[in-house]
Symmetry: D2
Subunit: 343 residues, 4 copies
Amino acid sequence: MIRVGIVGATGYTGVELLRMLSTHPNAKVSVVTSRAEAGRQVSDLFPSLRGVCDLVFSDVNPDELAANCDVVFYATPHATAMHHAEALLARGVKVIDLSADFRIRDQATWEKWYGVEHASAHLIPQAVYGLPERNRAKITSADLIACPGCYPTSVQLGFAPLLEAGVINAASLIADCKSGVSGAGRKAAVGSLLCESADSIHAYAVSGHRHLPEIKQGLGDFAGTEVGITFVPHLTPMIRGIQATLYATLTAECDLQALFEARYKDEIFVDVMPAGSSPATRTVRGSNVCRLAVHRPQGGDTVVILAVEDNLIKGAAGQAIQCMNIRFGFNEAEGLSLVGLMP
Amino acid sequence: MIRVGIVGATGYTGVELLRMLSTHPNAKVSVVTSRAEAGRQVSDLFPSLRGVCDLVFSDVNPDELAANCDVVFYATPHATAMHHAEALLARGVKVIDLSADFRIRDQATWEKWYGVEHASAHLIPQAVYGLPERNRAKITSADLIACPGCYPTSVQLGFAPLLEAGVINAASLIADCKSGVSGAGRKAAVGSLLCESADSIHAYAVSGHRHLPEIKQGLGDFAGTEVGITFVPHLTPMIRGIQATLYATLTAECDLQALFEARYKDEIFVDVMPAGSSPATRTVRGSNVCRLAVHRPQGGDTVVILAVEDNLIKGAAGQAIQCMNIRFGFNEAEGLSLVGLMP
Amino acid sequence: MIRVGIVGATGYTGVELLRMLSTHPNAKVSVVTSRAEAGRQVSDLFPSLRGVCDLVFSDVNPDELAANCDVVFYATPHATAMHHAEALLARGVKVIDLSADFRIRDQATWEKWYGVEHASAHLIPQAVYGLPERNRAKITSADLIACPGCYPTSVQLGFAPLLEAGVINAASLIADCKSGVSGAGRKAAVGSLLCESADSIHAYAVSGHRHLPEIKQGLGDFAGTEVGITFVPHLTPMIRGIQATLYATLTAECDLQALFEARYKDEIFVDVMPAGSSPATRTVRGSNVCRLAVHRPQGGDTVVILAVEDNLIKGAAGQAIQCMNIRFGFNEAEGLSLVGLMP
Amino acid sequence: MIRVGIVGATGYTGVELLRMLSTHPNAKVSVVTSRAEAGRQVSDLFPSLRGVCDLVFSDVNPDELAANCDVVFYATPHATAMHHAEALLARGVKVIDLSADFRIRDQATWEKWYGVEHASAHLIPQAVYGLPERNRAKITSADLIACPGCYPTSVQLGFAPLLEAGVINAASLIADCKSGVSGAGRKAAVGSLLCESADSIHAYAVSGHRHLPEIKQGLGDFAGTEVGITFVPHLTPMIRGIQATLYATLTAECDLQALFEARYKDEIFVDVMPAGSSPATRTVRGSNVCRLAVHRPQGGDTVVILAVEDNLIKGAAGQAIQCMNIRFGFNEAEGLSLVGLMP
């Protein structure tokens, strides 16, 4: 039984980590930190955890974390994990960062998009990008894991088979993505109010979203070459879920359905639907599955991939636990055998 | 490992039974029936179950059910289970009816509210009302279990401590209840369309709802006397959840908080919140918990009880599994250790 | 054409005033103030007003207001209007306050519930409570109008006919109210986030809500005696709308339907539905109508009144314009002939 | 004052026609038909119209329509208007068809996509496609007007300036569209239930939607050449609204913002937002405006156009009234001066 710390557990990915780890047979949460809520019962803030979690938020203290944890999850905004990672790693504690601090290999790119100087750039090279469907082997021995963002997970899993097979024009991809409001986190912001975001949809960050460089880097890894992509995210009136609708131009004939099924046949958390399907985000609500379908409308040369995931799970907390399972040699699905809540 | 049949599994309680039983260590679904969908993969209708359930809907056939099941759940509208129960019971199969067929002890009352003649009225006396918090002992040996309706569960659990203690005027109770739209089931009806029921609330069936006689019977059992109650249900723009706001006049002084805590201290699926709390339905979304709080505004003689539940779980499928666990001697929480999905 | 000022127009009642006054033939908005948004185009903040309103927010300046307005609406939180009213009134400007500052006649009660000292208590006696269905004649000559709160409007219009007729027990009324999230305003607060308030319902302020003393005062006026009431508001997952479900005990026989129809036969913004009806909030979405239905379930002695309104219109901005129309001798429906948006 | 008939007024476009025409100074609804609801008060079905509309649904009778109407709107599913049009036109009654019957010029294409034989194909050549921003002059004298579909309106208004200017590659356009559930109409269908469509998003009809041939025809008219387009609609969890996110490859340099502003400077119902904007569907909820923004992310050669409209208004009933105003020489905005309902 490993001991788990969660830093920044007052947000939505934090409470999801707590929910899922509560059923994990090999891991037990021992420390939960929050500056704002130190001293408060976790189950007082999140009554859904009454009777499930009897922890109390403590103030953030790397020494305490190091003393009481085998692995620490960072469910914080960016620019927190980068200040703690070195101390924890030095004491043998694994770090699984759900924030953006170690996702981008090029320091200058990261600093440009995140607007701060990187506090531990020397650690970037040892960070492993925590997308199991690409980096499972590396994750096995990684001490610092940078979990992918929610949008990048769905976009990469959708485009990967085509880029690996080299059958699309990688220079002009389009990712039209729709996210539930939980992607904006549990912070008080006018734009995330029910009265501002319900019964309406709108695009945002069309000129450039922070996930764009991560998507380009990730897709480039699959393609083996630089890619060009237009990425337009939309705020969608739902709590959870991302739908990525992906467009590319085919450059070679291939059996798309067979390609996708072959690529993911051993992946337990990627589900390729039968030809002609249209996955709905609600089919993965509360589960760690990314569900895909591939289309070629009217037999033209445009391929359309539909990818859905729960942004808080496969796009965040679930994928982080999946990485932990891989790193510690547990069954990869432990704690993640959750069936989507439908309706 | 017992074998479970589900009749009428194309509705919302059906898919919830399948979801929860998929993790049950002692029970396995062997037969799933549907007239309309016979021959279709269950996971084709409910893609959330892809990779979890590989069953195919079969036509309803009591012989097949009897041959392949130790227990059969009826997740049907009323007036189906009453036609099958005798044949199944005769062959030693337990019947857990989630519909209304065996909830009301008085045949004439049942026939008046449900508008049909009862097809097996002779079985009514042996049916046990499946509210574990009242009838746990009887459920232990019941062969025919009539699971409570969704509204009656929340109203009874809320009023029970006060009625048992005899501290309120049982002749004039008020239950103002708010239900999510899933309470209307998965049938095509204009009133349940998103465009008719979203972003709006309204009362319905004010002159008399079918759950009223069940509520009166159940509360009467707790009170030991006939009760008078005004019950007003409201269609609320959410998928799941019931909030029952209950009002009664105190007739004796008592420590309300202590009374509730004592009554439910051994109940794993009833959670009495601290004094002053206001439970939200989302804290029980996807879980089998009924969460309660008791208030006495301005110290007057009106007591207000707030009760929330997931209408599809503690109000239907979860409670049915809880009854099955009790009947077959399993751990009462088996398959039901689900934490509410929040947000 | 009168000149209108709006103080605090960045909130939801502010934008509703702007929307409705844009079509008013006798009134024109001349000044719109906001501390936080001074200098910004109104239509930049509220793009729905592009092409309709070309005003710019200015900083709050009573002199400017007095010089440029015949009437000023306060769409601010409490404790703002009370600081400006005297100066405006002294210069002949009418004040219509949508906040709570002048609603409560008893200064001590007001200060207890609102937690601040009243800055112009000497003006309280001259304020007229702006419920046209009760005070139309007084509004005709009022210089300072205190518009009712959203909950109090629905509760008073629902109980008024019964209290005036003296046919219910006024000592133990119950008001179970459900409000859309816009009732909490357009301020960044975690509890109003879509992810916190969608797909869920919960009661709040059970021990005492600020609208309680206003409701008691108002109902007392209709009854001619002090009333006792239990008021439980619920946060409901919708943008707009209030449903008040009201319960009382009948003390005399009467034709309830006839009583309600007679009471409101000349009221253009109160609609008594036929016997047996259940009004939905969406039927008044975007309109100034309060829609009522009265029930007597199972012919017992409990009367149930259902009242729905748009909390931002009949519960706030629309009622304020209605008061303005009465005060200035315009047609009472001017600017308010809005049909509910359905679906 | 012209007399208006509405056939099929029990759906969402029907009730919107009634709502908007209730304020029209030059038109009065005289006949409202419905087979299913004949004899019922309109305001009984749509309580939002109580006090506004006192009509009764009558059975469909072309003679009665001809005798009592100057213009008849068809708010029916396809394949109704085509059976009535000739008789009405022969008696001098104008026909404004909101359904698809006369939208497609090529009869074979229409019959392929709609699956029925066209009953009055000889009338197709005289039908004018009712998109005022393209066909205003022709509408002035049209007796048979075929109003555009909801998706085609937003897609055409978004692409038109670029196609007319010849600055994009018309052979490979992409339209990723998101529609509220009201687009599916007011018919009982499982897929439109709140429990099936709330809190989720999914694509549909990826292999081919009925609006595709209409979009291709319309864009081709603007381009002066055949276009190639991939059109993917998505069912979005909201009542009203369409967001079209449009992608094209630039083939020539041009000032995109200036191009759009010049194209629509005289159009009262098309609003080009400032550079960098992201229109939300809620800004046009309840209004006849189509709001546009044009982007060129990272200065690349992909242009992104964002277009939002209320699918029931500019995408249906509002555009139909706009056409009526043009045809009868009324002010084009009469009855349509509705400001979006926000929040």
